[in-house]
Point group: C2
Chain length 331, copies 2
């Protein structure tokens, strides 16, 4: 049985390209006692993975050149030497980008039947959904009537942030990179949505937030963030989740210093990664599942088909090609 | 009885100068029933007052051109029509820069006899000491063995921050602008002190913080802050207290964007002003008084004499002329 693997061919300088990735083929592995053989069903491509392609120290260890790239994967158990994971079980975990993988089951989460499509465990009920949940509800803690801005609002994290803020009774403003995405955000219930590629972002945000900004969930950074900082209310809370605007930068990004604005407003800026909240994950999944089942949360996926399309789906993240969760359906 | 007042002559562009201030003379006022006449004893000059000289919206309302400048003052009651403040009482409050002022007593705090020199109620036991207390102990929460950096360490706030961090068992690094200040910080018990005017600040901080930085109490901003951000440990806490490096800037300061560094470390950056903690002031004064009485806290003042010297003492803040609290002794 043939098994394709995608490896880091070289560390990208600036934007990754097709040459960043190397496909290799080997025999599918055979599970030993205590192991299962997993067949990859869905592969998640996420902006944070760009960081792991660099050698720089960050919150997750770098990928090694020549080694498989790894990330969120939904897989099916196709051979089992492990009682708790019988053949047919569906699991989600951090797994290599390959068609078949053996595992001892550690770090794998079994996907329960029923509540949602299995791919949602890479989205609404997985890392992006929980990132939105803890970043917004623990760090920002929006109150009814407050104004919440979310950048990258049409992404997997952002669209959940906006809907959660609406559940909490806030006024919600999203920024996104196309008119189609803006229209979609309005459909989801965002009060205002701004196409940052065509609008004067500072003017558009000021017009959309006449009472200032109480909470900012930042997935993007750069000029959108500069504009939000000018609108902060006293005791504003900023959840610093991502900086996709600068992930491919070849020089350290420079901009207006934010400290003066944060000082004048007694604002809080909190960087975080969803693993900071690992002990609270089950609580988050439960609440998100409940709101989804009640029709209070919608979710969207951009699904590409075919193992060989994984690099293209990843590269598309930086071109804004996806609305909602970017996934590759493998089998 | 003659009464001199110092007014804002014009809003400064860049650094204030002698021309920023206007002296006027009038008759000392007479207290009506329910009022006291206050004779100014000590005037506090503080970096934050530069912000009030600009028209820009900030956490405290701007001074008006032509109106008296006001700030922290220790005064003595010399005439009284108010039972609770008999003649001879000493008070501290936010009062105009003038020799005599009438007051209905609202917003004035009576200075208890005994625990410390009366001027300390503008320093260790006043706004600067409480700023250090709440910023460090509530926002940074240093733990024993952690590394704390404080910029502007030889100022009224910074020297208290460093000593409080030592009380909590942390390793403490201070930055200051002269070799004399550096020597003084060592005397106070700082583990390391760096003259940012002569050192390569990034190299010196990296050498002084071999285990990284867990807490940063920022009074200064600019390049010192850039260097600290490069050394942050996971879950670092930053109390954003002042930005004296940019208070006289004529253009919005620009620098490396910090968000990427704060994101990678799940760091918290919290802007604050001591009035955010108004309800907890008595607790803070009590604890600082106790540590001072026990000899665990020392304090330093740079006292200039004479009402006419108030503008010079203020301007000296931006030249780093003061060690500890800058005060003017008026009478």
């Amino acid at each position: 049985m043939q098994n394709q693997t995608i490896r880091l061919a070289s560390r990208p300088t600036g934007a990754p390209t097709a040459e960043t990735f190397q496909f290799t083929t080997s025999e599918a592995p055979t599970p030993t006692p205590g192991q299962v053989l997993l067949k990859t069903r869905y592969v998640s491509v996420d902006p944070y993975m760009r960081g792991r392609m660099s050698a720089a120290k960050s919150y997750v260890a770098p990928f090694e050149v020549g080694e498989p790239i790894a990330g969120g994967v939904v897989a099916e158990v196709v051979e089992s030497n492990l009682d708790k994971l019988p053949v047919g079980s569906l699991v989600v975990g951090n797994l290599p980008w390959q068609q078949y993988t053996v595992s001892d089951g550690k770090g794998l989460q079994q996907i329960p039947a029923g509540p949602a499509p299995i791919s949602y465990f890479l989205g609404l009920l997985g890392m992006p959904g929980l990132t939105a949940y803890f970043g917004l509800l623990d760090i920002c803690q929006p109150k009814a009537g407050e104004t919440v801005v979310v950048s990258g609002a049409a992404g997997a994290v952002g669209m959940v942030v906006g809907q959660l803020a609406k559940i909490k009774g806030a006024r919600v403003i999203g920024t996104a990179g196309s008119d189609e995405k803006v229209a979609y955000l309005k459909e989801l219930g965002f009060d205002e949505a701004i196409n940052y590629k065509t609008a004067n972002i500072a003017e558009a945000l000021a017009a959309a937030a006449p009472n200032g900004v109480d909470c900012y969930f930042d997935n993007v950074g750069g000029e959108i963030t500069d504009a939000v900082y000018d609108l902060l209310n006293k005791h504003a809370r900023i959840a610093l989740c991502g900086q996709i605007a600068s992930y491919n930068a070849t020089e350290a990004p420079v901009g207006p210093r934010p400290e003066g604005k944060l000082l004048k407003t007694s604002a809080k800026l909190q960087g975080f990664i969803v693993s900071d909240y690992l002990p609270q994950w089950p609580e988050g999944v439960k609440q998100l599942t409940e709101w989804y089942s009640q029709g209070k949360l919608r979710f969207e996926e951009t699904i590409t088909e075919g193992f060989d399309q994984i690099p293209n789906a990843f590269l598309g993240l930086f071109k804004g090609e996806n609305t909602g969760k970017a996934l590759v359906k493998v089998a």
